[in-house]
């Protein structure tokens, strides 16, 4: 068994990846070299999972959890609703890849490998990044290679680690909360993630601590056919406050790729939690993510979710308002360009009295792109005086792009106030002419209208992310002028 596990593992040469998949006997050494490479074979089965768990040096309970999740996934099968996922073939996907760089936590920017820094530079990230470096965690391929926690946070007892390290260093907290918000039974992709998860962030904020600088994690995906299955667990104790930001941008590859993350957040009494993400996957990535927060008494949870890029996105950040007076908010942006399908939305469950929620969704479709808003607002019996407001606006940039709205509203409580408003608009010729008459070129005019359309959501982002969002929108708009 052990021989099997490491048969293709200890390779040190930079070209090692070229050898992967070839048949060859290899001498191995149980003292794994510091700088090694491992990639699972393609496809998903129990053997792959055992290897992942073995390489991570995980406790038995986690291996058992993973194997159980695989069974659940196999039993469930992919969902029968939503966008076309027929291009997604598990047989062609590596479910685990480990970078050649030294595992563990890098302490400074200088420790980050040059090629990773180069990728950041090409993406135009560094200016924004360098300022906040001390607080940045970054995921490179499937592992955290860079992680630095600000000293004062450490003093405050804040934990901000990659999830694998979190499991090693804080097993009690980890085990208490892990998979309690999104159990593997929840949905097929959550089950797949539970089986093969790797990386992500582990955040713990003790009671009453106000983390005033956002916790940021950039992660990239830049090798071919890598499944990314990040697993993020954020626990915010009573009265504490935190803002977690994740941005990710991926260069282009040749073949389809798969990303399926699970984000679990526990927002305890009177806490204030925000999770912001802007994702710009390359246009062949299937991005199927489960994001959910449990929100307790008088706590406030806000999701800000930007979906650019990817081939298909299915993502419905959700708030389970389980405590009296809990508040949930989802702001989402989706941009569906040529050949893309963004199926995004929100899910809010009002399960306690005096809970309030607000959903604002803005989608843009271009060319053969389709964007869908899919949302659920559920008000349970006994959740008296619940208030929810949903606003979804779609903007079509041309005659060919499409948009759909699937709002589901289930109310089982008479005192509920639920509002829903949906608009669809087309890029307006008069607006373009007006802006052009002021000196803006046609493409600049269109980009400005789009930015304005997104502004109610974008203004909630920290400045450097808003700037990056604008840059991404401009890139997406290139070639829009007919």
């Amino acid at each position: 068994m052990k021989e099997d596990l490491v048969a293709d593992a200890p390779m040190q040469h930079p070209d090692a990846d070229k050898l992967v998949g070839m048949e060859h006997e290899k001498q191995y050494d149980f003292q794994l070299p510091e700088n090694y490479f491992y990639r699972s074979e393609k496809g998903l089965d129990a053997r792959v999972i055992e290897k992942i768990s073995y390489f991570k040096g995980e406790p038995q309970w986690m291996l058992d959890f993973r194997l159980k999740a695989l069974e659940i996934a196999e039993k469930k099968g992919p969902p029968k609703w939503g966008p076309d996922l027929s291009g997604l073939n598990f047989e062609d996907i590596y479910f685990y890849i480990r970078p050649q760089e030294k595992q563990g936590t890098s302490k400074s920017w200088d420790d980050i490998p040059e090629e990773v820094r180069e990728t950041y530079r090409r993406l135009g990230i560094p200016e924004a990044e360098q300022k906040v470096l001390a607080g940045v965690g970054a995921q490179y391929e499937s592992e955290m290679v860079y992680h630095n926690l600000k000293e004062e946070w450490e003093k405050q007892g804040v934990i901000f680690l990659d999830t694998d390290t979190g499991l090693k260093e804080h097993p009690e907290i980890f085990k208490e909360y892990f998979a309690t918000v999104v159990p593997p039974e929840d949905n097929y992709y959550a089950a797949v993630n539970s089986a093969v998860w790797s990386g992500g962030s582990f955040v713990y904020v003790p009671a009453g601590v106000d983390v005033d600088v956002p916790l940021q994690a950039y992660f990239l995906l830049n090798a071919q056919q890598i499944g990314q299955f990040e697993r993020t667990l954020i626990i915010v104790e009573p009265g504490a406050k935190a803002h977690y930001i994740e941005g990710c941008t991926a260069p282009t590859y040749d073949s389809d790729s798969f990303h399926s993350g699970v984000i679990e957040i526990i927002a305890k009494e009177n806490s204030n939690v925000r999770y912001s993400t802007i994702q710009n996957w390359s246009h062949n990535v299937y991005n199927l993510v489960t994001q959910r927060a449990m929100v307790y008494d008088n706590a406030s949870m806000g999701w800000l979710d930007g979906n650019l890029g990817s081939k298909v996105t299915m993502k419905y950040p959700s708030c389970y308002l389980v405590g009296n007076g809990a508040h949930g908010e989802v702001l989402s942006i989706a941009f569906a360009g040529d050949g893309q399908h963004q199926d995004a939305g929100a899910k809010v469950i009002h399960a306690a009295p005096n809970t309030t929620s607000s959903v604002v969704s803005k989608s843009i479709s271009k060319g053969s792109g389709t964007s869908s808003y899919r949302g659920l607002v559920q008000i349970h019996e006994g959740a008296t005086n619940a208030k929810s407001n949903v606003e979804c606006d779609a903007l079509l940039l041309d005659e060919t792009s499409k948009t759909n709205t699937y709002p589901y509203i289930e109310i089982n409580e008479k005192t509920a106030h639920v509002g829903h408003e949906a608009t669809v608009s087309k890029l307006n010729e008069e607006q373009i002419f007006y802006l052009q008459s002021r000196g803006l070129a046609e493409d600049e005019a269109m980009a400005l209208i789009v930015r304005g359309f997104l502004e109610p959501v974008a203004k909630e982002l920290p400045l450097e992310y808003a700037v990056e969002l604008n840059r991404l929108i401009e890139l997406e708009m290139e070639g829009s002028v007919g």
């Binding site: 010729e429 607006q431 802006l435 008459s437 002021r438 070129a441 502004e455």
Partner: protein
């Protein structure tokens, strides 16, 4: 003869595929002058304004438009703007989510070289001067472009933009319509502030009223897609008193065979 002028030569235009609306317009506005263009509804005044700015829904079948001797006919609307042409719209559109300040900074920078963007301080000083000129509150610059603006505020915004962008030639398309006297005064004050030897304007209006505040150097009268009469500022008064039928009658009789 100075080349510094806005010139329209025998301009014919129609809505794409439709009937001809402009049927040979000739008009010259030299730099440093303000001309009024008057005429009844449907005479083609607004069409002329939009055609000059490059509205893509119109088709030019004959003639030319020149800025300082250079034809702008083949130019996109934004290129015309960068050549110094400005249209104050009769019905300015709303652009949600775009603040006046951000928009004007982009518009100003669009006229400048890429490595010569206007400094933030310089920009805000300029913008605030213009806001003050129009007796407006500073907070207006953070509002989104015309979102929730009253008709009068929209018109005022058009003049604010004119003052900031400092075009060589401006066309004001019924900027007075829907304004009360106070608003009319403020808007006129803005236009008068822009006057100078390097600025020419064509002020389109139905009513003589505006011309009490913006005193024109010349008045042109338009009817059925042509300029039928050009005169001094007194022509506006006369027109106001006697009506358009008077002038049409006069033209008809003068055009009658001797």
């Amino acid at each position: 003869m100075s080349e510094n002028r806005l010139e329209i030569r025998n301009l014919h235009a129609r809505i794409e595929g439709g009937a001809e609306i402009l049927k040979g317009v000739d008009l010259v506005v030299p730099a440093g002058e303000v001309h009024a263009l008057m005429g009844q509804n449907g005479s083609g005044k607004s069409t002329l304004a939009k055609v000059m700015a490059g509205d893509p829904s119109y088709e030019i079948t004959e003639g030319d438009i020149l800025i300082d001797g250079q034809s702008i006919l083949e130019m996109e609307p934004d290129e015309r703007a960068r050549e110094g042409l400005y249209l104050a719209f009769q019905y300015p559109v709303e652009v949600p989510g775009v603040s006046i300040a951000n928009f004007l900074r982009l518009a100003l920078n669009a006229r400048r070289e890429e490595d010569d963007e206007i400094g933030v301080m310089e920009f805000y000083e300029k913008l605030q001067r213009a806001v003050k000129e129009l007796n407006w509150d500073d907070s207006i610059i953070e509002r989104n472009l015309h979102e929730g603006f009253s008709g009068g505020e929209k018109k005022r915004s058009e003049i604010l933009q004119l003052l900031v962008l400092e075009p060589k030639y401006a066309i004001l398309d019924e900027t007075d319509s829907g304004l009360d006297v106070d608003a009319l005064k403020v808007v006129s004050q803005g236009v008068n502030a822009a006057r100078g030897e390097n600025f020419g304007a064509l002020v389109i209006t139905h009513y003589q009223r505006l011309l009490n505040y913006i005193v024109p150097d010349k008045v042109h009268v338009m009817s059925e897609g042509r300029i039928i009469k050009t005169g001094e500022k007194e022509l506006a008064m006369e027109l106001d008193g006697k009506g358009y039928d008077w002038i049409k009658g006069e033209i008809a009789s003068s055009a009658a065979p001797a």
